[in-house]
Subunit: 130 residues, 6 copies
């Protein structure tokens, strides 16, 4: 796991997820090094680094996708933080989730909204040094 | 169907879908006026007009959502055109679909890619006056 | 395939699907007798005959389920006819699909609406002896 | 949020959800007033008040939809209570979930069954003044 | 619930789930005897006993299915144990989940991976008599 | 697209898909070279070549996954052929689809069954030099 692709992916992952990136990779690696490797290399090494769309737009699109899936709440928490790290505002995060009501209905969108509330509260607690 | 909300929604819908908007509404109305009414009023009248996100970003998020669902191909065709109408490039449309591989896997993303190809070919044919 | 469960299921299936029931079973049996057997015995023999809910309500619930799945259009066509056979009106069929917008969003609900339109047109053509 | 549509929706919502309706709206409003507004106005103000289907049948259809989605457990809890409030029996709630096995398989239906058990236990505890 | 189909199903279920099978059935039966009955009779009595595929391959296919659904984590826990009971190794369980990334993307596959980690830890604790 | 990973993936893809592999890649490449590249490199280059599970079992797991998704019919056609190329029998293909009824219900499983019928008919026609 020290290939150029892996290092490029890990660097991109850190830009999106912040210092949590390394912990996340370690947690996956403990169960399956192969899963951790493709998780870093493929979305972050191969896809997110392609330019064409800026990071903020990419992360808002990811929020849209994870919202409509309904079951993707752990990954949604990570990407709400990533969207904020990449320049999106909290208002924009909520706005994408709200727009998704039209495409996935209220159950999946409400799951995502509650998830955003939890992440915002965690971030507020972290900022206050709790 | 001449409420202020409906007219505001129809105007927004025309901005996104172009001249197809009215045909689309008529097709739905022929089966169910109530469905047509909420289709115009709710996503286009209530949600898309809220500002906060610009139309291009909203449409790219919609493409992300429709791609991961896998079954939403008729609506995806409409929103690929809408994304282009709102300032997205074809390259950006393909890029969002490609990014979604990480969130929905290849089957749903490939469905969307083939759909984009069909829409681009239709647009080329229309431009050539075919 | 002449067990009591199978015959009970086939009888129930005919009540819901009308004369199409036997054709449907034959089409499945040609590929897989085992699939055809459980398709008759399990939903129609075991579940639909349990009483508790009347056939019309059961079929409206089935329409709700097939609508939100988004991909279940061939089975939805069959159950729109079944709902009508069991005493639901066309207006009620459309109403369930319209209500589902709140739970699955517009793409899946629009797929179902277009499906209902096609079935209603087929039924009109059949009535006119076309 | 005092438009005629909102008030009509809130009144309908209270009929379905009972006294929990206002708490639910407040919880959503704390994160996003816009989301809360459309949550009241659209499904409850626009859709549930249309007549055509009675409230009990509408709620059973909603249970069918939320069951097959598999991930909609928080909303399912609310609508199991709503179904009971609208005249459905516990036996009918379980029956709809059981019927859905045929349309979504055991995993999603079992999720819903366990959810019904939890709601019934909560209701029993509430009745006993626990 | 003492029909030949039920007993055949329960025997097969014990082969897959081990001593947990009876507890599982009792838990379901407490809410709905009808649900418990079809849960034993249909997948285990009718499907898993058909031969053609050996139990290990059947369980790996079930893991693939439950992984891509994303929301089926309680049933996935049961079938990870079942796969191991039927001769699959932990490495094979992880491998199927990892392969599924290509078909469902990272969110659903990561849900499944974390679920496998939890089951493996439980098994380790059980073996150590904790 | 001549990296070692790509060539390794293409070789694996040919083993699974037969002579159709190159056509498939060319069709994707015509719309998006990047999508084609990751489609070859990631599932076929990175995942299918890892050993641990043999090709037949891997393809049966893929059939299980594509069946329960319900919307993945174009990819399912390809992988039914791939399963046969990797040593699975037609009976085993049908058996996996039939087993999936328990996990996804009849609508998605029936979609897959009809897809299998179409592929088998195509293969029969090809063998007869039609």
């Amino acid at each position: 796991m020290s290939s150029r692709r892996f290092l490029k992916g890990l660097q991109e992952m850190r830009k999106h997820l912040g210092p949590e990136a390394d912990d996340y990779v370690e947690r996956i690696k403990a169960i399956s090094p192969a899963f951790a490797q493709v998780n870093v290399e493929f979305p972050f090494g191969d896809l997110y680094t392609r330019g064409i769309l800026d990071d903020r737009v990419r992360e808002l699109c990811t929020l849209a996708a994870l919202t409509v899936q309904g079951f993707a709440l752990p990954e949604l928490r990570i990407h709400i933080r990533a969207a904020l790290n990449c320049g999106a505002s909290r208002t924009e995060v909520i706005e994408v989730i709200t727009q998704m009501i039209a495409y996935c209905g209220f159950p999946a969108a409400t799951n995502a909204l509650m998830c955003a509330r939890d992440v915002f509260e965690e971030l507020d607690a972290e900022e206050q040094g709790v």
